[in-house]
C-alpha cells in the first residue's frame, strides 16, 4: 500500500515536474478574429485559443531530439523528407553549426523535420493563421497591423542579414509574452503551402484559374503591408523538403476541449 501510494505520488510529482518544465516555455494566446494578408473569401478569419512556444526551437533542443530520434540525423534523413541543405553546417550527426550558438534558433531543417520534432513532444506546428495572429502584436498592442512604425521595423529586420546567428529572446517580447516573431528567423507553419501564389507578383493580384482550382478569388487585403508580402512570398517559394539557413520553427499546442 505504501509502495503503491509512493508510485502514484511519484507519477504525480513527475507529471507536474514535466509540465513545470514544459508549460513556462509556452504562452496562452487568447483566440480572436483578424484580417490576414491572404484570408478566406471573407477576409476576416478567427483563431481559437491555443498555446505557443515563447521562443523558436534552438540548436541545443534540436540536438537532444536528434539523440533520441536518429532517423532525423543528418546522415540518416531520407531525401523525401529533407533536401541536401539539411543541417548543412553541422559537421556531423551530433555536432551543431559552430557559427551559431547553442541557444540560437535551429535552421536548415525541413517542414517534415519540424513537424516530427513537435509531434514527438506532443505538440504541433502552428497554423499560418495562428502564427500571423500572434505576429501582428507589438510590445503593447494585440493588433499593430496599422502601426506604420511597427511595420517599418519589421521590414528592416527582414532585410538584415545573418540574423539566424542571434540567440533566441534577443528581439522584443510582444503583447502575448512571445519573443522573436520577427527579426530572428522565418518560421515553418503547418499549412505554409496554402499560399496560392505563383511568385509572379504582378499576376498574383488575382488567382490563376488554370493553376489553381478556386471557388472564389483570394486577394491580398492590404497592399501596404510589405512585411506580410515578404512573408507570404517566402512561403510561396518553398517546398516541404526545403532546408534554408534563415528558416526555423516553434511549436504550438491546442487546448483540450
Amino acid at each position: 500500500m505504501k509502495r503503491i501510494s509512493f508510485i502514484v505520488l511519484s507519477i504525480f510529482f513527475i507529471q507536474t515536474n514535466f509540465l513545470a518544465q514544459d508549460m513556462p516555455a509556452m504562452k496562452r494566446i487568447n483566440g480572436g478574429d483578424f484580417v490576414p494578408l491572404y484570408g478566406s473569401n471573407e477576409a476576416r478569419v478567427s483563431v481559437e485559443t491555443f498555446l505557443l512556444d515563447i521562443y523558436p526551437v534552438t540548436n541545443e533542443q534540436y540536438l537532444s531530439f536528434l539523440k533520441t530520434n536518429p532517423k532525423w540525423q543528418k546522415s540518416k534523413v531520407i531525401s523525401l523528407f529533407a533536401d541536401k541543405n539539411y543541417l548543412s553546417k553541422w559537421e556531423n550527426d551530433l555536432s551543431p553549426n559552430k557559427e551559431a550558438l547553442p541557444n540560437s534558433p535551429i535552421t536548415n531543417i525541413s517542414w517534415y523535420a519540424a513537424k516530427a520534432y513537435c509531434d514527438c513532444i506532443g505538440k504541433r506546428l502552428p497554423t499560418m493563421d495562428e502564427w500571423e495572429y500572434v505576429a501582428m502584436a507589438s510590445e503593447t498592442k494585440r493588433n499593430a497591423q496599422r502601426d506604420s512604425l511597427f511595420n517599418q521595423r519589421i521590414i528592416e529586420s527582414y532585410e538584415t542579414p545573418q540574423t539566424y546567428k542571434k540567440e533566441v529572446g534577443s528581439t522584443y517580447k510582444n503583447y502575448w509574452g512571445i519573443y522573436d516573431m520577427h527579426g530572428l528567423v522565418w518560421e515553418w507553419t503547418s499549412d505554409f503551402n496554402s499560399v496560392l501564389i505563383s511568385g509572379e507578383s504582378r499576376k498574383d493580384v488575382d488567382t490563376d484559374k488554370s493553376l489553381f482550382c478556386a471557388g472564389g478569388s483570394v486577394n491580398a487585403t492590404d497592399l501596404m503591408d510589405y512585411a506580410a508580402f515578404m512573408r507570404y512570398a517566402f512561403r510561396g517559394s518553398i517546398k516541404a523538403n526545403y532546408c534554408i539557413q534563415s528558416l526555423g520553427f516553434r511549436c504550438a499546442k491546442s487546448l483540450k476541449k
Partner: protein, 493 residues
C-alpha cells in the same frame, strides 16, 4: 568578213556573259539582304549551333560584341546576392543584386540564341526572388519559372526573338521593394551580324533609392517603404551608388573615338532625362529598339526601359552624364563622368573666354539666410584626419563640379586650387572667399580669372574641414584651418 563576224559573235558572247554574271552577282546580293534584315526572318526558326557560356560583366563594363557568330545555345548562370555596400561616403545600404552588382550583370546575346538561364539564390540570402527579362516572350518574362527560395536554384530557357536592349528585374512581391533594392539590369539582344563596331562601349543604369534617413544621413540606411510609395527618392544614382562614375571611376575615351552607352533605367519610380553635358548624341536607338533618332540632346529613358546612345568625341575634357531633371543630378547623385583625353581641336571648341561683368540693378547674388548654420557650434574640435574625411565629402558635393576632382580647375573659367599661389598666400582671404563669396578679377598662378564664386552655405566646421582638405591636397602648403579661424573671418566681414 568572216573574221569580223567572229569578232562580233565574240563581243556578243562577251556582253551576254557579262550580263549573266552581273545578274548572278546581283541575285546573290538580293539573296543576302534578308539575312541582315530582322523583319523578314522568323527568329523562332533560326537554328542554333553548339553552345557557349555567356560572359557576364559588372557595370560599367559590357561583354564582348557577338560579332559574326551564329545563333547558339547560350548558358547564363546568375547568382543573387543580398549584401551591404556603400551608397555614398559614410552611408551603406543592403542591396539585393543580380550577380553582385547594381545594376546586375550585363547579358549579351543575339537574335535566335536559345538562352538557358540558371538563377541561383545564395543560401545566405533571406528572401525568395525571381527574374522577369523583358527580352523574353512568355508569361511573366520568366518570373513564374524562376521563382526560387534561398539556398536553391532554378533553370529555364527562352529564345531571343527580338533584337534590342532590354531591362530585366526581380518580380517577387513586394515587387517595388525588390527593384528599389537594386534588382535590375540589362540584357542586349544583337541583330544577326551584331551592332556596328564602335571604339568604346559602357553600361550605365539609373535607379532611385529610398532610405530611412535623409540624403547623406550616415550609417546603414534601411529601405523606407513610405517614401518609396510616395515616390520621394533620397538618392537617384547611376550604377547603384553616388560616385560610381566620377573621379577615378569615370569612364574614358580618346579624342576621335565613337562611344556607345547602353543606358537603362531600373526605376522603380522615376523616368530619366538622360543627357551628356557638352555632347550631342549622333545616334539614339530610341527606347532601346530598332528606331534610330539622330542629333539628340536629351533622351527619355522610361523606368523599366532603355536607350542606346552613340556619339563621337571630338574634343578632350570631362563630359558629365546627368539625369537632366537636374536636382537629381546635383542633390541626389545622378551624375557621372566621361573623361576624354587627346589633343585640343580649336575648330570644334575654342575654349576662349571673353568675359565682363553684367550686373543689372539690384542683381546681387541670391543667398539663403545662414542663421542656424553659424551657430551650430560643435562641442569638440575635429582631428586632422576627421577634417580630411569630412572635407573630402564637402569638396565632392560643393566644390568638385567647378574646381574638378584634382583641384586643377577649368582653364579661364574656374581657378585651380591645386598648387595655387592665391590660396597659399593668404589663408584668411581664402576662407573669406568661401564664406562670403567673391567676384571680380583675380590672378592665380599667373592666369587672370574674372568670374563669380557664390557664397557657400556651409557650417564653420564644414568650411574648416574643406579648407584643410584643400590645403593638405595637391601640393598646397598643408595649412590646418580651425573652426575658430572660420568664425573669426565670418564675423569680421
Amino acid at each position: 568578213m568572216t573574221r569580223l563576224n567572229l569578232n562580233t559573235t565574240d563581243i556578243i558572247k562577251g556582253v551576254l556573259s557579262f550580263l549573266f554574271f552581273t545578274a548572278l552577282f546581283l541575285s546573290c546580293e538580293s539573296n543576302a539582304t534578308p539575312e541582315n534584315s530582322s523583319q523578314k526572318i522568323d527568329a523562332s526558326e533560326i537554328a542554333v549551333q553548339g553552345e557557349m557560356t555567356a560572359e557576364l560583366t559588372a557595370p560599367p563594363k559590357v561583354p564582348k560584341p557577338i560579332g559574326s557568330r551564329a545563333a547558339t545555345k547560350l548558358i547564363v548562370d546568375m547568382e543573387i546576392l543580398e549584401k551591404e555596400e556603400e551608397m555614398t561616403d559614410g552611408v551603406t545600404y543592403v542591396y539585393w543584386t543580380f550577380g553582385g552588382s547594381v545594376p546586375g550583370s550585363f547579358i549579351r546575346t543575339r537574335i535566335g540564341d536559345e538562352v538557358e538561364f540558371t538563377l541561383k539564390n545564395h543560401p545566405d540570402n533571406k528572401l525568395p526572388h525571381n527574374i522577369d527579362l523583358h527580352a523574353v516572350t512568355g508569361p511573366g518574362g520568366g518570373a513564374t519559372s524562376s521563382f526560387v527560395a534561398p539556398g536553391h536554384q532554378t533553370t529555364f530557357s527562352f529564345k531571343a526573338l527580338n533584337p534590342g536592349l532590354y531591362v530585366y528585374h526581380c518580380a517577387t512581391a513586394p515587387v517595388g521593394m525588390h527593384i528599389a533594392n537594386g534588382m535590375y539590369g540589362l540584357i542586349l539582344v544583337e541583330p544577326a551580324g551584331g551592332l556596328p563596331e564602335v571604339d568604346r562601349e559602357y553600361y550605365v543604369m539609373q535607379g532611385d533609392f529610398y532610405t530611412k534617413g535623409e540624403n547623406g544621413e550616415q550609417g546603414l540606411q534601411a529601405f523606407d517603404m513610405k517614401k518609396a510609395v510616395d515616390e520621394d527618392a533620397d538618392y537617384v544614382v547611376f550604377n547603384g551608388k553616388v560616385g560610381s562614375l566620377t573621379g577615378d571611376n569615370a569612364i574614358t575615351a580618346e579624342v576621335g573615338e565613337t562611344v556607345r552607352l547602353f543606358v537603362g533605367n531600373g526605376g522603380p519610380n522615376l523616368v530619366s532625362s538622360f543627357h551628356v553635358i557638352g555632347e550631342i548624341f549622333d545616334k539614339v536607338n530610341v527606347e532601346g529598339g530598332d528606331m534610330i533618332n539622330k542629333d539628340v540632346q536629351t533622351t527619355l529613358v522610361p523606368a523599366g526601359g532603355s536607350a542606346i546612345v552613340e556619339f563621337k568625341v571630338d574634343v578632350p575634357g570631362t563630359f558629365i552624364l546627368v539625369d537632366h531633371s537636374i536636382f537629381r543630378a546635383f542633390n541626389k547623385g545622378a551624375l557621372g563622368m566621361l573623361t576624354v583625353s587627346g589633343p585640343e581641336n580649336a575648330s570644334v571648341y575654342s575654349g576662349k573666354q571673353q568675359e565682363g561683368i553684367y550686373q543689372p540693378e539690384g542683381g546681387t547674388i541670391q543667398e539663403m539666410p545662414d542663421e542656424g548654420l553659424v551657430n551650430k557650434s560643435p562641442t569638440k574640435a575635429l582631428t586632422l584626419t576627421e577634417k580630411m574625411k569630412l572635407g573630402k565629402t564637402v569638396y565632392d558635393k560643393t566644390c568638385l563640379a567647378c574646381h574638378q576632382p584634382t583641384g586643377r580647375g577649368i582653364t579661364a573659367a574656374f581657378p585651380p586650387l591645386a598648387k595655387s599661389d592665391y590660396l597659399n598666400e593668404d589663408v584668411d582671404r581664402a576662407i573669406g572667399v568661401v564664406v562670403n563669396g567673391k567676384s571680380g578679377e583675380i590672378t592665380v598662378n599667373g592666369e587672370k580669372y574674372n568670374n563669380i564664386m557664390p557664397k557657400q552655405v556651409l557650417s564653420d566646421r564644414e568650411v574648416a574641414s574643406v579648407m584643410t582638405y584643400i590645403y593638405n591636397s595637391w601640393e598646397n602648403n598643408k595649412t590646418e584651418v580651425s573652426e575658430s579661424d572660420v568664425a573669426r573671418v565670418r564675423n569680421s566681414h
